[in-house]
Structures are given as C-alpha cells and as structure tokens.
Amino acid sequence: MTPGTGVPPAPVPDLDALVAQADARYRDYRLSSVQSWKARTGGLAIGYMPIYIPAEILHAQGVLPVGLMGARDDLEIIKGDAYYQSYICHIPRSTIELGLNGSLNCLDGVIFPAICDVIRNLSGMWQTLFPGKLVRYLDVPQNFDPQIGGRFYRDELESLIADLAARGARSYDAAALSASIGLYNTLRRIVRDLYELRRGEPWKVPTAELYVMLRSTLVIPVEEAIAVLDRYRTLVADASDRQPLDQARVLLTGSFCEQPPIGLIRTLERSGCYIVDDDFVQIHRWIKSDIPTDGDPLERLVMAFLTDVVASPTRYIDKGEKGAELIERARASGAEGVLFCAPSFCDPALLDQPMAVRAVERAKVAWTAFKYSENTGQFQVIREQAGTFADSIKLWSEA
C-alpha cells in the first residue's frame, strides 16, 4: 500500500510509459484525472486560464487547481466559433467549446487572471454562461510598489480566499499556505532543473516531450506532479541512448497563453532547431526562484509576484530596458537565435514584438518570426522557414 492512501503502489514506469501516461492526460479533454480526484477527495476543482495564478492558495485550501490552456488541433470547434469574430485569437473559442460541450463540468469554477482584454472579457461571458459556477477575475497589479500594488494584490488574494471558502473550501490557514509554498517551490525547482538539463543536453529533453510532461501536470495535484516530473528528470538524465544532432540552438518566445499544436513544436525540432528556452506552460516558471516559507505566507506570495517574476509582455516594465530579460535568457541558454512564435491576434505578444525584436537586433542575435493558432494543421511553411533559419545559423554564425 502507498502509505496513508490505501492504494496499492503503482509499478514504477519507464520513460516511454511515463511519457505515454502524460500524453494521455494531455489529450484528455474530459479531465478524467480531475474527476477521479474529486470522487476520491470530495474537494473543489477550480480551473484557471494562463498565465499564472498563485496555485499555492488553492492547494492550501484543499482545492485542486486545474490549468486550462485551450484545446489542440483535434477539437472541432462548433459552438465556440459562434461566439467570436474571425479576428480574435483561438483560445477563447476552444475554451468556450469545452465549457459548452460539458468537458469542464467537473470544475467548480474558473479563475481568469488579468493578462489581456480577450481573457478578461471571457470572464464576463463565463459569468453569464455558467451562472452556478465560481467565476473569478483575478486582477494583478501593474504597479510594483509593495505599499501600493502590493496592498492591492494582497486584497485580491484575500478576496479569492474568501470566495473559495464560500464555495466550501477550507478557510485560510497560514501554516497550510506555507507548506503549500514549500511544495510548489519543489515543483518549480524540478522544472528549473529540467530546463537547465535541456539547456545543457537538449537532445536528452526534446521540447515536444517536455511540453507534454508539463501540460500533463496541470490537471493533477502538485504532489503527483512533483513525483512525475522528478521521475522524468531522472530518466531523461540517464537516457544515454539519446544522442546529439547538429542542430541550431534557439529560444522560442511569444507562446505564453494560447499554445501551439504539438505538431508545430515537433516540426521546429525536426527542422533543425534545439529549443533551449521557451514560454510554454509558464506557470511553473513564472516565479523565478524559491519563495521563502517563513513569515507571513500571503505577503511572501505578494512579494514574489512584485519582484521575482518573468518579464512577460503582459506585464508593464517600469524599470530597466524592454527586452533585457529576453537577451539575458538567450545568453544564459546559449541560444544562437530567437524564434518569435506568437498566436495570431495575440495582443500582448504581437504588440510587444517590435520592442523585443529591436532588443534582439541590438544584441546581434539572429531572429525570425511566425504565427500560429492552436489548431494550425499545416506546418510545411513554418518547417521551411525554421529550417532555413537553423541552416543560416549553422552556416553563417561566428561560432
């Protein structure tokens, strides 16, 4: 028996089995793992949209946070398209589709973080479409003074805690929150390790595989996610059968909300690119280092948000230079080029791009750009573009 659970221990999976399990969870629109968890625990399950929520709070209140990142290219959008004009990005229409076709019925609510006007307005649609569910717009400060933006953010978090408690979640307990922060620190550390491992030996951690592993952890409890990713880290570190190829090292940016189809990621890798840094499934890396587990845990979460997060296009850059973090990431990952890979009609990514391109050009880093939708099905043009880009790096770079 697994201690304390009454469940017989599962056999330790090998790499293929582990990835296959993750892939099944990634492909499961009906969220079977969430349904099982609810049946087992009787707890609340709350979805959240990209990019980031303080999942520690939900966990500390006994709630399962469930990451929603739209659909893949295999979901036929029937109702969702009737809610959006052609010039709106794809993720809200697939999210509506999943909501209306019953896939998200197991969720007791959804949190919509403030990242753009489309996700913001989707929160209002959700209020009227699913009136019995918790619909929570989580505003996040664009002022980073602890006494101003910090105070506001703390109020938002306290209000979120109250909303969850009103739905039957456990009430606030500082010790429980500190413990949850500790767990999520562990998860973030493992993900940072995986990214570090990929930077060093990208052939051992193919991005298409890492991506599926990360996506799969969005629908399971953090304890399980830690176990899965820890096991994955051990297995890929030892995967001596994975041998290096002569590929260009690229940093991929712009894909922080609507995610590309897995076929696009594979296409980029097959076209000669090692993706050594990216913006995928950013919740695990949004906070860049460990959050202290001592002191007032809510204040720790607030301060982490104010001072230690990704310089995302969704975030106002009040100090420093636009694009500086992107250049630093390129340097740290040894990237030889930058792929601007944004969803069509994504305001944050596409409005930011000219500034990021200028920063990349100032740093004399090669770049190319293309767009996608989560249901893009044809990759030939992107393959040729990325392949040419990789070739040009290999042929003409100074290294």
Binding site: Q85, I88, D139, N143, F152, K322, L350, L351, D352, K371
Partner: protein
C-alpha cells in the same frame, strides 16, 4: 431598401453649422495652435488616453493634453491612416494589432503632423492611465522607446462585477498621490494645487450635467440628436482637452440650448447630408464607429431614416448618464471612481444590462453592434452580448464588422447590405406586430 424610402429620409440643409459646432471647431483649433506653439512658448504636453483621462489634473499643472486615439481617428477622417498603418507594418508592427497604435506610430514617423496640419510637440510625459484597454499599456511602452520620455503609469483595476470596491479605489488613489502627482510636479515644475484641481472638477461636473441632458434628449420622439454619429461631435470636448474648463461649460450650455430648440420645433437630427425628416427606426449602437468612411457609414443609417438614440461608444470617456459626476469635495477619490467607471472597464454582464436598459429606456426598435477588428476590449464577446441583449430586451440585434482606422476593413457594400437587411427585418417585425 428602395430609393423611394431613402429619398424621403433626409432633407438637405446645406452646410450650415450650428453655433455649438462653430464653437467646438474654434476650441479645438486653438488647442492645436497651442500645441504647435509649445516648443516656442515652453508649454509642456502630456500624451494620454480618452478612457480614464485625468484632464483636470493635467490642467491643474498647466500641462497640455494630447490624445493619440483622437489624432488617429482624425487622421482617418482626413484619409491619412492607410499610409500611416502601412508604414508601421513595414517597421514590424503586426497586421493583427490595433490600428490606432499603428496609425499613431506611422504619423509620428511621418513628422507627427496633427489633424490641423501643424506639427504636434513631442510629449514631456506619457500619462498612461491604463483603463479598460490592455493595448494602452503596450502603446505607451512603444512610444517611450520612440520619444525617450518618462511615463507616469496608473493602473486602474477592472470592474468584473460592476461595482467599485474600496480596495480598487484606494489602489488608484494611492497611485495618484504617491506616483502620478509627484511625477507631474516634477515634469511641470509646479506644486500640486488641490484648490485648483477642485475648481476644474467643479467645472467638469457642470459640463457633464449638460452633456447628459443632451444625450438623454434622444428619448424624445423624434429624437433631436443622433446619439452615435452626431454624438461623436458632442463628446469631443469632454473626451479630450476641455473637461474642467469654462470653454467646455459654455459649449455644453450652448449645445443644450440648441437641442432644446430642436425639441420645441419637433426636429430630428442633423446629418452631413441634411436633417432626418422621418425617424423610421430607433436603434441603440454598441462599439466605436468606423472613422475612415465615417460620413458614408452615417449616410447608410440616415438614408434609411435610422436614428441612433443611444450608444456605448459615447461612454468610453465616462458613463455620466448612470449618475457619476466629478465631485470637487473628494478630488482624488472622484478621479479614481471616474477612471474605474469608464465603459470598457466594465464587465460584460454590466455592459449587457446597460445596453438592454438603453433599448428599453430609449424606446429602441433594436440594437446594432459595429464590431471593430482593432479593439479587443470592445469586440471580444460582442456576439455573446448580442444574444444576451436580445434575450433580455426582446428586441433584435444586428451585427456588422469594420475597423477603427484601417480602410482595408471597411467593406461598404457588405455593410450596406447587412444594414438594409436589418432595417427590413425591423420593418417586417413592426408589420407583423401590427397585424
């Protein structure tokens, strides 16, 4: 729609302008003269946005407001935006993003010549009142790189549930006190003068009273105004550089007087092609107008005898008809509440209820949504809004698509067809109801 119907809708009255229109033209011309002369006079300018604008505060520091959205729409009306947008896209700005931004960047790269043909001054500060539109944030990040000037950033939280919480208000007030005012003091070289701000706020409230009266005059039958196309001109002074000035008070008093006269005479709205003689359809309109073909767009309504009796676009700079007035006794709190209450900062359920309320209160036959490609803040969710407003109001909705200032997205034939079909449907419903 047949020619016989359209011929009877408007009566040409030449190009005679009302006193209020002349006064407004003069006000705007003087403002642009001041802006053009600013490099010589030493007056300083602040670029800022219409929703959540802090005009009274800027005026209290003697800073001249410049509104890039208004420059973009006026560039569109002068037929300049196609080249500006093309230039911005050539410089790497995506075809997918807001055309106000690209028009503004293109205008700047083309010499920053404003709507009156005079050069606009570079900003001394970018007052980023981040209210109701994510694009604003990126827009001024882009301009900061171009102008190398400081930004005064004020984040205004969104109202998802249609109510302002103490936390939201406190957050904005703290930003005003600790960040915006000190920065404006530094830029202007003047100390914050709260008495002066109070006086501007007092004048703002006076103008707001008269504006609301004018907009609500559309409840009369026939409506003496067009509350979408015509009202664009009415909101011009209060949405731009004049709220809180004696000039705005005088303008809105004169405008109100003119509308009172029109009501007394039983007259309909004035359009560029004359007065609407027969009000055939009363509609509520959601969404901004198209600016590149503004007059043609208006004519499509006027030719059918369709009069907008209420609109949401005229609330982007403040939803005054729901009761808000700037309150000089609480200067910073009232500025915070103003910013929080602008239309695009309201959650979709609030927007839906407001539209349904307009349909009912203004006796509308239906409502139309002009969905613009550029503006996700307005447009994302409008198809859902349409269904909900139909459900609540029991009146039919129509949906057309265009853009703010990109002429490539105004398909006249397509829009005209849709409008004609919509008005025919209203007619059929009316006949069916009478049968």
């Amino acid at each position: 729609m047949s020619e016989s119907v359209t011929a009877g809708a408007t009566k040409s009255s030449g190009s005679k302008k009302d006193v209020s229109q002349l006064r407004q033209k003069e006000m705007i011309a003087k403002h642009f003269d001041r802006l053009a002369a600013a490099p010589d006079t030493g007056e300083k300018s602040a670029y800022t946005f219409v929703p959540g604008n802090l005009t009274e505060l800027l005026l209290s520091f003697d800073l001249l407001p410049v509104l890039p959205e208004i420059n973009s729409l006026q560039s569109a009306m002068r037929g300049k935006t196609a080249e500006y947008i093309a230039l911005a896209e050539k410089l790497g700005h995506s075809e997918d993003v807001c055309t106000y931004v690209k028009s503004d960047i293109g205008m700047m790269k083309s010499g920053n010549i404003g709507p009156t043909g005079q050069r606009l001054p570079n900003p001394d500060v970018l007052l980023l009142s981040y209210t109701g539109c994510f694009t604003f944030l990126k827009w001024f990040e882009l301009l900061r790189e171009e102008y190398h000037c400081p930004i005064a950033m004020m984040h205004v939280p969104y109202q998802p549930d249609g109510r302002i919480t103490p936390s939201m208000r406190d957050y904005v007030v703290k930003q005003l006190k600790d960040e915006i005012i000190p920065k404006l003091e530094q830029i202007s070289g003047r100390a914050y003068d709260e008495d002066r701000l109070r006086e501007h706020l007092r004048l703002a409230a006076q103008a707001e009273d008269d504006l609301v009266w004018v907009l609500q005059a559309a409840k009369h039958r026939p409506s003496p105004i067009d509350a979408y196309f015509g009202a664009v001109y009415y909101v011009g002074p209060i949405f731009s550089a004049f709220r809180g000035t004696p000039a705005a008070v005088e303008y809105y008093r004169a405008l109100r007087s003119e509308i009172e006269d029109r009501i007394a005479l039983g007259l309909g709205p004035v359009t560029p092609d004359g007065e609407i003689e027969q009000e055939r359809y009363r509609v509520v309109v959601e969404g901004p107008p198209n600016w590149t073909s503004f007059r043609q767009f208006w004519k499509m309504f006027a030719d059918e005898g369709a009069v907008a009796v209420a609109s949401t676009y005229t609330k982007v700079g403040g939803v005054y008809d729901l009761g808000f007035r700037h309150d000089p006794s609480r200067p910073l709190e009232t500025l915070a509440e103003y910013c929080l209450g602008c239309y695009t900062n309201l959650g979709l359920p609030t927007r839906i209820n407001l539209l349904a309320q307009y349909v009912k209160e203004y006796g509308a036959d239906g409502f139309l949504i002009n969905s613009v490609k550029s503006c996700n803040s307005f447009s994302a969710g409008q198809l859902h809004i349409m269904r909900e407003v139909e459900r609540i109001s029991g009146k039919p909705g129509g949906f057309i698509e265009s853009d703010l200032v990109d002429p490539r997205y105004f398909s006249a034939a397509n829009i005209k067809n849709r409008l004609e079909s919509y008005f025919q449907m209203l007619e059929q419903k009316r006949l069916g109801g009478a049968a």
